[in-house]
Symmetry: C2
Subunit: 528 residues, 2 copies
């Protein structure tokens, strides 16, 4: 009996050993994580957590003043001082939140957006400088002997630090304004069918739309130069090398792209790009008893989930009144992430919450519609759980995102500026009662969820790959060694045209010479 017991213990021990070897890498790597604030962090956190759970040693590097980035038991956090104070950040954020509900003249919109972006990047460059020139901290980072930097190249600090420390970088992003991600990774984006940011086109364009998209792609090149001038300057100065920011991020080992082709239009990709769209969507957990009761009470009509994202949870009183009025006119119950002023007559079917278990609510069988601002996180949760959407884009890439979703026929777009209770009710009725929306959404959802590997596993795999092989050089295209003229073979075409010209001219000269000689001879003969 004793023998059997020992065998059992030994067997279990061996099994545990085998399991732990399988579940964890042989030796945990050392990863420096440099996230970007806001929703960017919310999805990167999924990967950082996944890596920590696999036994890697994670150091999260964040500015002292931040909004959503919090520390965790799973990884170490190192903060660095920045010039902006918590109060200044709050004021700036509040101004921004109010700004999204103010209508700007249509033509000015793009100028204002670029202005906002320049202001934002300026602030970020300042923050980055505080870090880069913080010698003790940089020395400490150097001594940590990291294996890689996991960062979002939306902001310059991560890629610059990776270059400075000579570490391979894994990027985690949805995209970079003006298509810098595609430029830097040498990924072809033919303007004939790859719509540019804010162009309002799909991948199927008319001649006029193609002209517009072509011009936009040219404008983007100029915009890139302007927008990233401060990044270029900082990088060159700090690294003491004549490098553009585009060249620096072009050195990234792996690009983990937070989309797939249920959302994005099919387009060429590079070998070091890995699609992890939907990484933030997970199997829905149980709701709290109170919320579950409210949801269940909706009966056959079901619920509507309403959130304007991680940064915007309030709105002007008059705007909120429109929503309250609309919700009083529908039979569904509404769960709304709202921290604004609460009126006296909140309809009974509306539950206001400071924080919304959005993923779990969307995954609930009672979820009928999702009112969203069109951030990619919300959109992917909607697609993942198959819930049709009413979309109210506020800023940044959201206008483009909702356009992509709307062209799939799984959502309706409304303008936050022009919205009325009637248009909102109409839109909700359409996506809830016109069964074609649900059908198309279920089909899209089935395609999105049908993938050989879960996005998180894929992201973890390729991050560990970079650790194991100290990069992914075998996936780096030789296009990085060519300049623009060479890449497009314009020097070759020029040379060939020159040769053709020379040959044509020489032939022409020869013919002319022969002709003249012949003429002379016949003239001579005539004269003779």
């Amino acid at each position: 009996m004793l023998k059997k017991g020992w065998l059992w213990v030994l067997g279990s021990g061996l099994l545990l050993l085998w399991l732990s070897a399988w579940l964890r890498p042989a030796q945990g790597g050392r990863v420096l994580v440099m996230p970007v604030e806001g929703s960017h962090w919310l999805s990167m956190k999924v990967l950082a957590t996944g890596l920590a759970q696999r036994g890697h040693n994670i150091l999260l590097l964040v500015p002292e003043t931040n909004i959503l980035i919090e520390s965790s038991e799973l990884f170490r956090t190192e903060t660095f001082p920045v010039k902006i104070s918590k109060e200044e950040l709050s004021t700036s954020l509040k101004g921004f939140q109010e700004g999204v509900f103010k209508r700007s003249p249509a033509l000015m919109d793009i100028v204002i957006q670029v202005g906002h972006l320049l202001n934002f990047t300026g602030m970020q460059v300042e923050g980055c400088e505080s870090l880069l020139y913080n010698k003790p901290l940089m020395q400490k980072l150097k001594e940590e002997n990291f294996d890689l930097v996991l960062t979002d190249p939306f902001l310059p600090c991560g890629p610059i630090i990776a270059t400075a420390l000579g570490l391979p970088a894994v990027y985690f992003l949805r995209g970079i304004p003006c298509g810098l991600d595609m430029l830097a990774s040498q990924c072809p984006s033919p303007p004939s069918y790859v719509p540019r940011f804010q162009s309002g086109s799909t991948d199927k364009m008319t001649f006029v739309e193609r002209i517009q998209n072509f011009v936009m792609s040219g404008v983007e090149l100029v915009l890139c130069r302007i927008m990233y001038a401060s990044f270029d300057e900082l990088a060159s100065r700090y690294l003491d090398a004549d490098l553009t920011y585009q060249e620096i991020i072009g050195r990234g080992a792996i690009w983990l792209l937070r989309y797939d082709f249920t959302f994005e239009y099919p387009r060429p990709l590079m070998p070091n790009m890995v699609l992890i769209g939907g990484i933030n969507c997970r199997k829905s957990a149980e709701l709290s008893a109170e919320v579950e009761e409210f949801v269940k009470g909706s009966g056959e009509h079901g619920i509507v989930v309403f959130s304007l994202g991680s940064l915007v949870s309030s709105m002007p009183k008059e705007k909120a009144a429109i929503f309250f009025k609309a919700f009083s006119m529908i039979p569904q119950r509404v769960l709304w992430r709202y921290t604004g002023e609460i009126p006296d007559d909140v309809p009974e079917n509306v539950k206001l919450m400071k924080w919304l278990p959005q993923n779990d609510l969307l995954g609930h069988p009672k979820a009928k519609a999702f009112i969203t601002h069109g951030g990619t996180h919300g959109i992917y949760e909607g697609i993942c759980h198959g819930v049709p959407m009413v979309m109210l884009p506020l800023f940044g890439d959201q206008g483009d995102n909702v356009h992509r979703v709307a062209t799939r026929g799984v959502g309706v777009v409304l303008s936050i500026h022009d919205i009325t209770a009637e248009t909102l009710v109409d839109a909700l009725n359409t996506v809830i009662n016109d069964s074609s929306y649900k059908q198309r959404m279920e089909k899209l959802s089935a395609i999105h969820n049908d993938r050989p590997m879960q996005p998180l596993d894929l992201a973890v795999y390729w991050t560990e790959f970079v650790m194991r092989h100290k990069g992914a050089d075998h996936l780096r295209p030789a296009a990085h060694d060519l300049n623009w003229l060479q890449y497009h073979s314009l020097d070759v075409i020029g040379f060939l045209l020159f040769i053709v010209l020379i040959i044509t001219l020489a032939t022409f000269k020869c013919c002319a010479l022969c002709w003249r000689r012949c003429c002379r001879k016949s003239q001579k003969r005539k004269e003779d």
Copy 2:
């Protein structure tokens, strides 16, 4: 006790049910497999077998006269009569086998190769016609209600049948001559860093090489037109539609490409391309007792594995003598797939075999070098097991393949025409005794084998995906709707240049008019 027994039976039953549900799809699909002869079939067989083992109903459609395609217990085989007899095929094959050892004038080489290919495709078109116009068989195929066609678009019959039956197609291939695969899938291949077939360049080219590659990419376009004229004609005639073969294969749902970037140079890919390089490599099985004894007897020197592929297993007596002589000069033991004339003085360290367990031998710890013709199957088995190579390209893509391997520094290329015992011994000594070859090969092998999913699982997954969703339309780029001019935005550029010209002319005219008026006025004033 009885109760416990029943519970055990019930539990086991449930477990078995769960296991079978997990291992098999809910309902097996119906797959029509149309392979291409020779080594093409050897790797496609791996997927066909994998699909059959997953419970799918596979019908293998093959010409009555064939070389390597054999029936299997796992899938049904349907043959169709073709004009060429077994004897004619054997004679043709023998002629081909002898031809590869004859040297053709360097300049004529490409002409001869294209000639061979045209002859081969002509024969195949004839065979395909026999099938397409075989009404009873075609009716039978229609009634089978297949879910998809799995085929190699190297030959036209599979894609044409898929179109005729209105079925989605999954392609399984290494590539199609003159880059038709990339053209048809709308995959960008910038000639500035994607070397063309037979160009002899790598992805890093000098200016002269880039000129050469650019010209080659133009020549390819013309070659494509010539080589596939018979395919175009057959497809248009049979389908009664104005379609080119390129347009037909452009409709493929998924392209399973039999390479990865340990072998291929990094380049753009399309979303519906799945890389399954190394699908033919498997964990090496035990050798037969006789072979194992021979291998073990090699001692510390190890063995050399020698095969010239599935189609060439003999060679002229004089050529073979060179190899026998070389092998008598090395300490390693040699296992050679050889069916040619056997001389009296075969060295003791040489074992001649009609069939070689190539994968198992390469996976044996004693394997020191691999003499190969440079087919992708052999190359991937070599990379997979990490064995340095001596390569003797014979025909087709082999010249290009060995060039790719050689640039990685894991193999040496010799010419089958110029080979001598000394050069062969030198080459073997280099790859065996210069440890840098083994080191680089081990690194390459580690990268190749480090992948999130096994190639076979990936191929099965995407084939089943196409069955589940009746295609993969969400991965189809809108570029398919554009013509060449539109794709490259040349119409847009032309239009913009025209507008610029008009504006310039108008401005010039206006200025000239103003100038003239001013001049007249001042002249008038002077006159006054």
